[in-house]
Each structure stands twice: as structure tokens, then as C-alpha cells.
């Protein structure tokens, strides 16, 4: 090796003995700590292959020796989350409905939980903010077909309306035209009468007395003598400014002729009790409830 120990006079460092076009290479090896670190990374990498799932095989992959997988990791994380949430949700489940709104911590939890559950389950019909759509009630207003108290809202969420559940709200708008109970001109007359109940304009030449009579004979049993509705039957108040399907004459004729029977699904069994409670409080707080 003596021929390699040529000393470079400028730096005082030995050269490797390699020379290209008069340029010689100094023998300045990497610092030892650097080299050791490099070897350690190799050892680490080999260890990694063995310990963790690393190599793709034809139909599968090496599984490592600790059975580690990111999937299991996520499952554990989710379980932990459920556990953390669990205690709080138990507290929510144990509290009486009226107490939840009085307790800022529970109210915040119920609104947060309710909002996500609402977005997942209720938004397709009622809209993400609960604003509703034609045929789907706006949950932000003060008109409640089946009642807007906390208990009533929870009842509706649990069992739905015309959902097929035993305890569901029943009662549908009859199809007076289709069933032949009322004739076409009678329907138009009573539709104008209903419009007049909430102060809307009526068609020219319409007979108010006839309308009132038709209403008293056919409609008052559900909607009440004065058209104020009946929450027991889910019969809407016809004297207010809110119309689920629309208030113009054509829509009312359609409603009276063919009836309405919108369905609200039952959520009991699909959502756990404390989640339904959270949803109840959330919906109640949307419109202030009753």
C-alpha cells in the first residue's frame, strides 16, 4: 500500500493514489460517526422489513412479526374515540331532556353530536341546515305538525310518521277528489276558502259560504272548525303563513284531490338512545322549539 501513501503538500493529507489528468484524489474518508450512522440505517431498514408488513407478495404481503397493520391501528383509534365519547354520551343519555339545554356542557355536546348525526341521516330530506323543502318540513320555524316540545320531537324522531312502526304517527290527508268525496268545483271552492283562512287572496266569483260549508263538512274533523289544525293527527294549521307543499290554488287543489302522506322514517333501533336525545336537542335548538 506504500504507493498509495502519497502526501499532498498543500493539505498535508494522503492521497488515494488515483490520478486523472493530473488531478489527484485526497484520501479524506467520511467521518466515522457518519459511517456508523449509515450502517445503523441499513440495520434499521432490515429490522423494519422483518418487524413490519413490508414486502408485497403475489396475492398478499409479508405481515411482519408483530401483526402490526394501519387498519388495526385505525380500529383501535376509533374504539378509543368511542370510549372517550362513551362517558359523555352516557351522561347525555342519563340527563332529562329539559336539563340538557340548561347545562352548557351537555348542550354543547348535544348540539355537536346532533349536528353530525343530522347531517348523516336527516339532511337528505330536511336539508343540511334543517331548512326543509317542498313536502319536507322546515325544522327552523315554529310550525310543528306533530308538536315542537322536546318530548314530541323525540317521539317523532324515534318512531317517525307513517313509517310502519307500531308507535308511528298515523293520519294522512285524504284524497277527496280521487275517492269521489268532492267534485272538482267543490275542491276549487274549498281551496279558495282555505286560502282565505290565512289571509291570502281568493279567486273572483268564489262562494265563501259554500266554501265554509264544504270545509265544515269534510275538513273540520281533522283541521278543526277554525282551521287551526290538530297535532294529534298531524293536521297542519291552515291559518298560518307556512305551507308545506305550497299555498297557491293549483297546489291546494292537488292536495285536496289526491291527499298527502309524507313519510318520516323511524330512527329508533337505527340510532342509539343518547344519539336520538342529542338529535332532539339539536332540532329543538334549531328553531327554539316549543
Amino acid at each position: 500500500m506504500t504507493e498509495h501513501s502519497d502526501i499532498d503538500h498543500v493539505s498535508g493529507t494522503s492521497t488515494t493514489g488515483h490520478e486523472w489528468d493530473g488531478i489527484r484524489e485526497l484520501n479524506t474518508p467520511l467521518p466515522r460517526w457518519w459511517v456508523i450512522t449509515f450502517y445503523l440505517t441499513i440495520v434499521w431498514a432490515i429490522g423494519y422489513w422483518i418487524v413490519y408488513p413490508a414486502w408485497p407478495l403475489l396475492w398478499s404481503h409479508t405481515t411482519g412479526i408483530w401483526n402490526y397493520s394501519t387498519r388495526a391501528e385505525v380500529a383501535t383509534e376509533l374504539a378509543n374515540l368511542e370510549k372517550i365519547r362513551g362517558d359523555k354520551m352516557v351522561a347525555l343519555g342519563a340527563a332529562p331532556l329539559e336539563e340538557i339545554e340548561k347545562n352548557p356542557a351537555l348542550l354543547a355536546l348535544a348540539r355537536a353530536r346532533g349536528k353530525t348525526v343530522f347531517g348523516d341521516n336527516c339532511a337528505p330530506c330536511h336539508g343540511s341546515g334543517g331548512a326543509g323543502a317542498k313536502g319536507y318540513p322546515n325544522l327552523n320555524d315554529d310550525e310543528w305538525l306533530w308538536g315542537g316540545s322536546l318530548d314530541q320531537i323525540m317521539q317523532t324522531i324515534q318512531f317517525g310518521a307513517r313509517s310502519g312502526h307500531q308507535k308511528a304517527h298515523e293520519g294522512a290527508m285524504l284524497a277527496f277528489g280521487k275517492e269521489g268525496v268532492l267534485k272538482k268545483d267543490e275542491i276549487v271552492t274549498v281551496a279558495n276558502y282555505v286560502r282565505s283562512l290565512s289571509g291570502l287572496s281568493t279567486a273572483g266569483g268564489y262562494n265563501a259560504a259554500a266554501g265554509a260549508k264544504i270545509f265544515a263538512d269534510n275538513c273540520a274533523s281533522c283541521h278543526g272548525d277554525n282551521g287551526k289544525g290538530n297535532q294529534e293527527l298531524g293536521a297542519p294549521n291552515l291559518t298560518d303563513k307556512i305551507w308545506l307543499y305550497g299555498s297557491d290554488e293549483a297546489t291546494l287543489v292537488e292536495t285536496i284531490s289526491n291527499g298527502r302522506a309524507g313519510v318520516m322514517p323511524a330512527w329508533v333501533g337505527r340510532l342509539d338512545p343518547s344519539t336520538i336525545k342529542a338529535l332532539t336537542v339539536y332540532v329543538h335548538s334549531l328553531g327554539g322549539g316549543q
Binding site: V10, G127, N138, K241, G287
Partner: protein
């Protein structure tokens, strides 16, 4: 065969090749004005750092009583009478501006004061050197012991063990003091002693112990020379009037030995005060020769001034051959003019004025900041709701902030041209038609507000409404404006 070159012909300066291995620096002990100043500043800086977490400050029942506390879990920063919330981090921006300006001012007045006296790297390295000197002896002794590393004795092994143990103890306490700023210090000290502290505390103590030990014990001047960006910046900030540690070559050259100098003097030959004793090099913690002029490696600690003064006193010559001076004065002396020093000049006045201005703005902002605050967010979906009687209701999410250290009773009002009524979901009570909320101390509370305008007041387009929150007890008021819209 290559032509042989005498290495000394090529190495005109001591820069050497860039890939040269580090030459270990063995600073010699020294005494004098600047050494004493450095001891004093070290004691002050370390004293503040180590003891500040134990200073108490009464903030009332239930609030932390630590004077300086970074409360990460609760997102609060406490500094004596100041309590900052996360949204007030701009005070730190102000603090950074003041710090930068102070650095500029320091540079304009006295060069790299920060590097030489106050930088943590300087302070801890100095402390570690003191330990090393105490255990292993002064410069020559240490050099001799390191040179004889092949023949290690039991005594030498004991010395090395003792030095590293003390270093590690200092490093451990440095890391320990750091975590005390993040939680109640006495509690954490007790938890650390009984091994019940949270894992994160041990991890951070470990990290800072390791960095302190490695930086101050092993890397020392290399941190300043190779790692730190400050020398580049600070060196660029000094100007011709800044007082930098300067070798007065006008007085020192030509250098020659003491004996030769007296012979030459007797012959009436020109000779300088520098006797080439290399004391300034021996004491330098970065191992440079200040006589080569201002350089990046120089942290301007002034220890070479002390060393040179000692020698000058010994040989009966005037002190401050090396001293705080500027280039202008060297040239003035060479021209036979008296030196001039100018601390007060446009640059320093500007920096000082800017520091005062930024400080005043920060203080004003701090003293006039609101301790009750309200933020309003209008519901987007739906923006407005028609109620059964034809009135319009808008919903808002309101966030109330109570920055005071006690619970307060807050009344909420809404003002606007629509004669609206207000309902707060979960209001604690309603008194005289005003919803009341109990706002817990030092918290934010989110509320849902329903604002209803009667049918006859329905606005045709959006109208501004003002949300006003009033502290019933103190009369403090905060308000926020949003809009009320019709469907």
C-alpha cells in the same frame, strides 16, 4: 514527479483548507474587567432562567399563581400581570420586533454584545469551560493531559468522569428548568422527584439535557462558527462607529519580543507595543487571533482585552492595546488626531426611537384591550326563516369571551331598526326581557341566538343589527354588528 511545494509558502493565513479537521481550543483562564462582566451577566442570565419558574404571582382563586407560565392545555400565556389568549399572539410579534431592534441598537453601539455576553451558547459554554478548568486544570495542563491520552491513569479517568458528570448535571437542570415554564413548577419538581411526572416532561428534559451537553460540552465554538446564522447577520449590522473588539495595530506593529523591542528602541528604531506573547490567542474561546482584524469567528467577548491588559501592565506599557474601538479611530490616530467616540448618532437614535415607539404601541394595546368580547356568526343555512305568523327569524352563533378571572353575569341585547325580539337557547334566566348568561371566568362560551322581527317590521333587504353584551356588575360593554335578512 510533482514539484515539491513548501507548505508554509502556500498557507499565508490560518484559514487552512475547508476540510481541515477541527483544532481543539483550550482557552486559558483570565481575569479582568470583561471576565468579571461575563461572570456577572452569566450569574444574572442563568439566575433568571433557573429561578423564574418559582416566582409566584397571585391571580385569584383557581387561577395559576406562577408568574411566568405557558399553559398549553388551556391555551393561556401568563407573564406577571399579563394574561394572553391564543388570538393575542401578535404581542409576541411585537416582542420579536423589539428584540430585533434591540439587537440592531446593541450592534450599532457595541458590536456583537449579544454573541459575546448574552447568547445562551456563549453563557453555557463559558460555564462548561469553567467546570472543565476546575476539574482538569488550566490550558497547559489540559493540553498535556489530552496529548497523553494513550496512557490513561485511574486519576485521569476519574477526572474525565467527574467533568462529564458535572456537565450532565448542569445540562439536566437546564432541561429541567425549561419544562418548569409549562406547568406549575413546585408541583412538577415534586413529581419529578417522586417519578410521577408526565412522560412528556421526561422526554423534553432528555432532549434539552442532550442538546445542552452536546452544544456546550462538545461543539462549543463550532456552533458559533459553522451552525449559527447570527454571526453573518450581526457582523453585517455593525458599522464604522460601532465599538468592536479591535487590535490597535497602529500601536501594536511592528511586533517583536520584549527583549528585541528594548534593543531596537534603544537604537531609535520604530517598534510596536505588541510583544507577540500570544496571550490573546490563548484565552480566546473560539481560538482566533484578534490581531488578524475583525472576523466572523470572533464573538467579541473581550477576554483578549483582559489578557492583553494583564501583559501590558506587567511590562509597564499602556493598557488597551486591544480594546473596544472602531476603525475610524485607528486612522485618526495614524493621522495624529485624537480619537472620537460617537454613541449618539442618527442610527442609534432611530433604533432607540423605534424601540420606544413599538413598546408604547404594545403597552397601549395591552392596557386598552377588551376583557369582554363578542363575536357573531350568522347562520348560513337557512339564512332566514318565516314563522307561522309571518314574522322573520334569523339565527346567529355568538361567541362570548370573558378574559377576567371571575364569573360574570352578562345581559344580551340586540339593537336594530326592526324592533326584534331575542331568544337565547339555554339562557340562564330572562330579566326585564333581557336574556342573561352566567359567563364562567377565563373562558369562551358559544350561544345560539334567535332574533325575530315581527311581520310588520320585516325588512325588505338586509339591515344591520347590533349585538350588545353588558356585564351587569361592572357595566362593561362589548358589541358586534351583523345583518338581519329576509328570505
Amino acid at each position: 514527479m510533482n514539484k515539491t511545494v513548501n507548505p508554509t509558502d502556500l498557507q499565508l493565513d490560518d484559514d487552512g483548507p475547508l476540510y481541515a479537521a477541527r483544532k481543539k481550543v483550550y482557552p486559558q483562564s483570565v481575569s479582568g474587567t470583561f471576565r468579571r462582566t461575563k461572570w456577572g451577566l452569566m450569574a444574572f442570565c442563568l439566575g433568571v432562567y433557573y429561578l423564574l419558574p418559582f416566582v409566584r404571582w397571585n391571580r385569584g382563586l383557581g387561577a395559576p399563581d406562577q408568574a411566568v407560565l405557558v399553559d398549553l392545555p388551556n391555551s393561556r400565556f401568563y407573564f406577571f400581570f399579563i394574561e394572553l389568549w391564543p388570538q393575542e399572539v401578535y404581542y409576541f410579534t411585537g416582542l420579536l420586533i423589539v428584540a430585533a431592534l434591540t439587537l440592531f441598537l446593541m450592534n450599532a453601539v457595541g458590536g456583537r454584545i449579544w454573541c459575546g455576553y448574552l447568547c445562551p451558547q456563549t453563557v453555557w459554554t463559558d460555564l462548561f469551560y469553567a467546570v472543565e478548568r476546575w476539574v482538569e486544570g488550566d490550558r497547559r495542563e489540559r493540553m498535556r493531559k489530552d496529548a497523553a491520552k494513550g496512557t490513561i491513569t485511574l486519576r485521569r479517568a476519574g477526572e474525565i468522569a467527574l467533568k462529564h458528570s458535572i456537565w450532565l448535571m448542569i445540562a439536566w437542570w437546564t432541561g429541567g428548568a425549561w419544562v418548569l415554564y409549562f406547568t406549575d413548577a413546585p408541583t412538577l419538581v415534586w413529581q419529578l422527584l417522586t417519578f410521577q411526572a408526565p412522560m412528556i416532561a421526561y422526554i423534553w428534559i432528555g432532549i434539552l439535557t442532550a442538546t445542552t451537553y452536546v452544544f456546550a460540552g462538545w461543539m462549543r465554538e463550532q456552533v458559533c462558527v459553522y451552525m449559527c446564522p447570527w454571526p453573518r447577520i450581526q457582523a453585517a449590522l455593525t458599522d464604522e462607529w460601532a465599538l468592536n473588539v479591535t487590535y490597535k495595530y497602529d500601536r501594536g506593529e511592528a511586533r517583536t519580543s520584549l527583549k528585541k523591542a528594548s534593543e531596537l528602541r534603544a537604537l531609535g528604531q520604530p517598534v510596536g507595543d505588541c510583544i507577540d506573547c500570544y496571550q490573546c490567542v490563548a484565552v480566546c474561546p473560539t481560538g482566533i487571533d484578534i490581531r488578524n482584524g475583525p472576523q466572523l469567528d470572533c464573538i467579541q467577548c473581550g477576554l483578549c482585552i483582559d489578557a492583553c491588559d494583564t501583559v501590558m501592565t506587567k511590562i509597564g506599557r499602556e493598557t488597551r492595546l486591544i480594546g473596544y474601538d472602531n476603525d475610524i479611530n485607528i486612522h485618526r490616530r495614524q493621522e495624529g488626531k485624537p480619537p472620537i467616540y460617537r454613541i449618539v448618532r442618527p442610527r442609534t437614535i432611530t433604533y432607540a426611537a423605534m424601540i420606544v415607539a413599538v413598546g408604547a404601541i404594545m403597552l397601549y394595546a395591552l392596557l386598552t384591550r377588551s376583557l369582554l368580547d363578542v363575536n357573531v356568526l350568522h347562520d348560513r343555512n337557512p339564512v332566514a326563516v318565516k314563522l307561522s305568523d309571518g314574522s322573520i327569524r334569523n339565527a346567529y352563533t355568538v361567541r362570548l369571551l370573558n378574559k377576567r378571572g371571575f364569573d360574570r353575569v352578562i345581559a344580551i341585547d340586540v339593537d336594530g331598526p326592526i324592533n326584534a325580539t331575542l331568544h337565547v337557547v339555554g339562557a340562564d334566566s330572562v330579566t326585564q326581557d333581557r336574556p342573561m348568561i352566567i359567563l364562567a371566568r377565563d373562558t369562551t362560551t358559544e350561544l345560539r341566538l334567535l332574533v325575530t322581527a315581527p311581520a310588520e317590521n320585516n325588512p325588505e333587504k338586509s339591515v344591520p343589527v347590533n349585538f350588545r353584551v353588558t356585564d351587569i356588575g361592572l357595566g362593561e360593554v362589548a358589541s358586534a354588528t351583523d345583518h338581519f335578512v329576509s328570505p
